[in-house]
Symmetry: C2
Subunit: 288 residues, 2 copies
């Protein structure tokens, strides 16, 4: 997905959020803000939003020396999600439709996205989970279910820390021996890295790899050769969150996008409403 | 009030709103957006937001040749407000506290602000009016009432088209022969100009002047000498809307700010909540 003009105000806001987490020094805020505006003025809009976000957050890292401003926030939401985990797992075990319940919870966890909402409260995460079981699911669960049943090699692309615990609930429903989980290769916003996969207990359950990239999505040409091998040989890809949709929506693979549509640009591109719980097979996957 | 970092994403969004009203040509949208980002990257943040907005909207005018993109929107909201006027006027006439009712309605009309919400619907204006009579008023009505009673020369600074009909309801409650109404000297967003004062019937009721400026607020050094004479000799100023607050909050005059707080930056500066109906005497006015 290309970058839309409406993404630009959001990049500016996201930069402000990040820099405020690094320092209270307003002179630094101003310096970063002006540099970000200069970058945005010259950017190539044919690129997807995560390409531009990667460039901006790298710039913030260079200007401030801080490469992981969201580390504390990531820890906080990992802890919150792990605290919720036993009750959620019990809910799935007792559910008449465990896969559907697990999909709903995995999407509920996608609310933990600091790129969209930097002020997320614990209560909002709880509310997202409470609402998840009754909310209409925009997508074809039966197609997803059949695809999982017939897949030999599933690559699961995670999105954010905290959310990755909700992903674990879904992965537990799909014969984990076939599943490889990928996290980001280096910190970017609150996206999950290897430390978060470990915190979520995923490394005891499945093979976990990192993608070698610090983009908030999956820009294949920016990923490591090892990751690309896994990507190429997988016969089913599960891609969590907006960033993975933005970077993979036009890639020729059997991809299922699993996300909450949190912004009007994504919602328009998906043909859904903001707030929708989306489970969508890629057009390329459908044609295959 | 200076410009806060949080105003920057809003300027970008406002520019997009304006340029989309002028042309559907995305190449022009992109050209304007890049120019606006360059201007924002270099701007002086000690200036108030209307100084920067004036510069951006002038730039849009130069780049597109369109100096009044909101003319149709202004006409639309003038018509809507004039249609509502007889019922609202009857409500004030029947009210046990006509001045208070008129203040509330004048603030309700401040929702017609395309700088904040470009997609405003007629229903939202009706809802604003419905809610206005029961909403808590953040301010001292008694002080305002006494100030009006004792004022010899009132200058009423309007904000937006459509809203100006709601201002008429308030002006009708205050012996109009003492009142001069000021509109903007040239189009800027959907701010009221002389055409809107005429459409609202204000020129039959009071002396109407323009301020000689195309800023979305009252930047005194940018206003005409005639306007400044009126401003200097008035012993009470009623300043409608956020833009007038942003530009006059530190001016040494007896000013009453009458507005709906529509953004977090303004709300923080005023020490109120977003959505509050505010009637606030300037600190300078209070000390005098």
């Amino acid at each position: 997905m290309k970058t839309f003009f409406d993404c630009i105000p959001c990049f500016v806001r996201q930069s402000l959020d990040a820099i405020r987490m690094i320092t209270p020094d307003e002179a630094v805020h101003e310096q970063v803000l002006r540099e970000v505006l200069r970058v945005l003025a010259e950017m190539d809009l044919c690129q997807s939003p995560p390409v531009i976000a990667q460039r901006i957050h790298r710039l913030i890292g260079v200007l401030t020396g801080e490469r992981d401003p969201y580390r504390q926030v990531k820890d906080r939401f990992n802890r919150l999600a792990l605290k919720m985990y036993p009750r959620l797992r019990a809910g799935i075990d007792e559910s008449p439709a465990p896969l559907e319940t697990a999909v709903r919870l995995a999407i509920a966890g996608n609310v933990i996205d600091m790129g969209v909402n930097n002020d997320l409260t614990d209560a909002e995460v709880h509310n997202s989970v409470e609402g998840a079981l009754t909310k209409a699911l925009n997508g074809q669960l039966a197609v997803f279910d059949r695809a999982i049943s017939s897949a030999r090699d599933i690559l699961y692309l995670t999105d954010n820390a905290g959310e990755i615990v909700f992903d674990r609930l879904l992965i537990e429903q799909m014969s984990p021996e076939r599943v490889t989980v990928a996290v980001k290769g280096a910190p970017i916003i609150n996206d999950a890295t290897m430390a978060d996969a470990t915190a979520a207990g995923l490394d005891d359950l499945v093979n976990v790899i990192d993608n070698g990239s610090d983009a908030p999505g999956t820009i294949l040409e920016d990923c490591s050769a090892t990751f690309r091998e896994y990507f190429d040989k997988a016969d089913m890809i599960i891609a969590k969150g907006q960033g993975n949709y933005e970077t993979l929506s036009e890639v020729d693979k059997n991809i299922f996008f699993v996300l909450k549509a949190k912004c009007p640009v994504i919602a328009r591109d998906l043909g859904c409403e903001v707030g929708d719980f989306v489970l969508r097979r890629s057009n390329r996957g459908r044609a295959a």
